[in-house]
């Protein structure tokens, strides 16, 4: 529509996707400033890419494809050191569990206060998932994209999408379960 003579269409697109994309990037990088910048970059890319957009595909797929590629590019640039892991690996090894040292990644005191223990545990669990699993989890659970679309977006077989999703869910359950056990043990120890 934007390309066909409706300049307002781009504004509508921004209004429609701004919050979803902000959350998408935030849960991938856990840095509000960075996720806002990435969202801004995304819309710039969408605007520049509007000349190449083919109206056969769904708009949502186009937006998510650009967003996913943008995140992958960003992730590759920001990764502090090469990390080798098998595609089978679901979570980072313990020594690799705090890998990304982004500037501004540290939670502020306000954030620390507002983040409850449970929230912090969930965030840590998500952070420990490897990038391919986290991306699938984000797209399927938060963005509610069908597996077929995720398969198309990430250019992987649909069976791989499913297995990554299942593995991610099991790993998250395990991690949260063990975190809960640790907390209850600590409480029991403290009481004793």
């Amino acid at each position: 529509m934007y390309r066909d003579g409706e300049p307002q269409a781009f504004r509508q697109l921004v209004d429609l996707y701004r919050d979803r994309m902000l959350q998408f990037f935030y849960r991938l990088c856990w840095d509000r400033q960075r996720s806002e910048d990435l969202t801004q970059d995304l819309f710039l890319k969408l605007m520049l890419g509007s000349k190449r957009y083919r109206p056969q595909g769904r708009m949502a797929t186009f937006v998510y494809r650009v967003a996913t590629n943008l995140w992958i590019d960003h992730y590759r640039q920001q990764r502090p050191r090469p990390r080798f892991y098998s595609f089978d690996q679901v979570v980072h090894a313990n020594d690799d569990s705090a890998p990304r040292q982004y500037a501004g990644d540290d939670p502020t005191p306000d954030e620390q206060l507002s983040d409850g223990e449970e929230r912090a545990a969930m965030r840590q669990a998500l952070e420990r998932l490897t990038e391919p699993h986290r991306l699938v989890f984000e797209l399927a659970v938060y963005q509610e994209r069908p597996y077929s679309e995720i398969s198309d977006l990430l250019d992987i077989p649909i069976g791989t999408v499913k297995s990554r999703m299942h593995n991610a869910v099991h790993a998250l359950k395990d991690m949260l379960g063990s975190a809960e056990r640790d907390q209850s043990q600590q409480r029991a120890g403290g009481a004793g």
Binding site: P157, T160, H166, N167, H170
Partner: protein
């Protein structure tokens, strides 16, 4: 998707066959929860859950997990909307340059041909108007459009050509030279700000560019503030009004006696300084020291704050003339100091209105117009780290009033935003000094971010410094006192502490005594509008 009856086993505990074919992967409760698959597959999954308690438990577990994770989200910062607005504005320009329908390809050669023919005829001295004059019928038929298109075209002996405005038809609104120059300036400023180590100035500039606000309000508010200043100055002439204002906030009536005594002394001293600065022929010395400038400007403001009096009228007038005489040679912080006195004088008496308008515009241009020095080599003086915080606060207050003198409110606000950005910069570099906080509150209080609680935080932080302990820096105390309006948080506590100022020793210099007087006069001179309400 095939449904494996024996699918309750976990695919792996850390390792799965990533290359697994779609059909080879058994379904899991998460697939049902996310309704992944065809309606038939979803129904089949649901049926299986109904018949298998273990699956049902797993599904419940998964629902809890997903619901928990869906709570993880972030609230956008106040700047986010501005960032996206930048993109949308950019997209409008992008649309015009890439997608807007172009004129047909055959039109350009025709237009070029016609233009060439017209030029040829004009160069040969062909009197086009004569053709129309010799064909009255044609003129009558052609009507208004022809007349207007020719009326502006004069081909005389000197071959001056003036094409009527209606002859030129353009698709887009033409950009004026001022707009073009402003757009170039914005580009240069943004390029420079991108090189800054912190984002405060860049964010401030972008916010200022994006926040247009209510145009009418931006003109009216400063104009109304001017009227209030004048009205309250007239009211302040009455000792009863002053004493009532002091008592209404718990101060002693005797404070007014001290203020008036101080004001008389300041008037006498100002007269002496102005006399020394003016030689017998009446021409003033060109060079003005910072001390003299501070003394006269603060003196003028103190005399206005103390209320008008016949005894001090001459000193006030001479002080104003002295400032107006010297202001053309001043720039940067010195210009701010001179304007601070002149703006108040112009507000209460209408004197030097033109000087304020002219040099106020210069103040705005000094910050926003790139030159060989400004922006290209360094930041403008008022945005540099060496600018005194107090002067930035004063500049903020002046710029808030300059629209009443005919200066574009958006530009004034943009400069104020930049100054606020500079002050924020100082806070982030651990210069959380009282003068910085006071300047933010005094000069840019209305621009502080209420959503993030910046206004409240600064207010509370300032309460850590008692006015008596800030002495003899009465400039900072004055900014704190005058920025805390009645009803604001911590106002009563501040009033209590300000009362203790009256027993402090008097500063030695004229500017210090003037600032001291203004602190004491806070209750009847510090808050525009409050005296009027109190009097009613």
């Amino acid at each position: 998707m095939s449904l494996h009856p024996n699918s309750n086993q976990h695919p792996n505990n850390g390792a799965a066959d990533e290359s697994a074919d779609h059909d080879a992967v058994a379904w899991q409760p998460i697939d049902l929860l996310l309704k992944q698959g065809t309606p038939d597959e979803v129904t089949a999954m649901r049926n299986e859950v109904n018949g298998n308690p273990r699956k049902a438990l797993e599904l419940a577990d998964t629902i809890t997990l997903v619901e928990q994770f869906r709570l993880l989200s972030v609230k956008a910062s106040p700047e986010f909307a501005g960032k996206l607005q930048d993109v949308v504005l950019h997209s409008d320009r992008f649309y015009r340059s890439h997608f807007q329908p172009q004129s047909p390809a055959w039109l350009m050669p025709i237009v070029s041909g016609l233009a060439a023919a017209a030029t040829f005829l004009l160069l040969w001295g062909f009197d086009v108007a004569q053709v129309w004059r010799s064909n009255p019928e044609l003129t009558a038929v052609a009507g208004h459009e022809i007349r207007t298109s020719l009326s502006g075209m004069t081909i005389g002996d000197d071959r001056q050509i003036d094409v009527g405005s209606e002859a030129a038809v353009v698709d887009e609104e033409p950009i004026s030279p001022e707009q073009a120059s402003w757009e170039r300036a914005v580009t240069e400023i943004l390029a420079r700000l991108d090189k800054e180590t912190t984002d405060n100035l860049r964010d401030a500039f972008r916010n200022g560019m994006n926040q247009n606000g209510d145009a009418l309000k931006q003109w009216l508010d400063p104009s109304n503030a001017m009227v209030l200043l004048r009205l309250e100055h007239e009211l302040r002439a009455s000792a009863d009004v002053r004493v009532r204002a002091l008592r209404s906030r718990g101060a002693l009536a005797e404070v007014d006696d001290l203020v008036q005594e101080l004001a008389d002394g300041i008037a006498d001293e100002m007269q002496r300084v102005v006399a020394v600065q003016t030689d017998p022929e009446g021409s003033s010395q060109l060079h003005v020291s910072d001390e003299e400038l501070n003394n006269i400007s603060w003196g003028v403001r103190a005399l206005i704050a103390s209320g008008s009096s016949a005894y001090r009228a001459n000193a006030l007038r001479n002080g104003g003339e002295w400032l107006a005489r010297h202001v053309p040679q001043l720039t940067g912080e010195r210009l701010v100091i001179a304007l601070s006195g002149l703006v108040e004088l112009a507000a209460i008496s209408g004197q030097h209105f033109e000087a304020v308008a002219e040099h106020g515009q210069r103040l705005v241009d000094d910050v926003l117009q790139p030159s060989d020095e400004n922006w290209r080599r360094r930041l403008p003086d008022l945005l540099a780290g060496h600018a005194a915080a107090g002067n930035l606060g004063e500049a903020g207050r002046i710029l808030a009033r300059l629209p009443a003198f005919g200066i574009a409110p958006q530009r004034c606000k943009l400069v104020r935003q930049l100054m606020l950005g500079q002050l924020r910069d100082r806070r982030t570099t651990a210069q959380d000094r009282p003068e910085v906080l006071a300047a933010m509150l005094y000069g840019c209080g209305d621009l502080l971010d209420e959503a993030t609680g910046e206004l409240d935080r600064i207010g509370w932080q300032l309460l850590r410094w008692k006015p008596t302990r800030l002495a003899p820096d009465f400039g900072t105390v004055q900014q704190i006192a005058w920025s805390r309006a009645p009803g604001s948080r911590g106002y009563t506590r501040l009033q209590r502490e300000l009362r203790q100022l009256a027993i402090l020793p008097m500063p030695d210099n004229l500017a210090g005594r003037s600032a001291f007087l203004m602190c004491l006069a806070t209750n009847f001179a510090g808050h525009v509008g409050s005296l009027l309400l109190n009097d009613e």
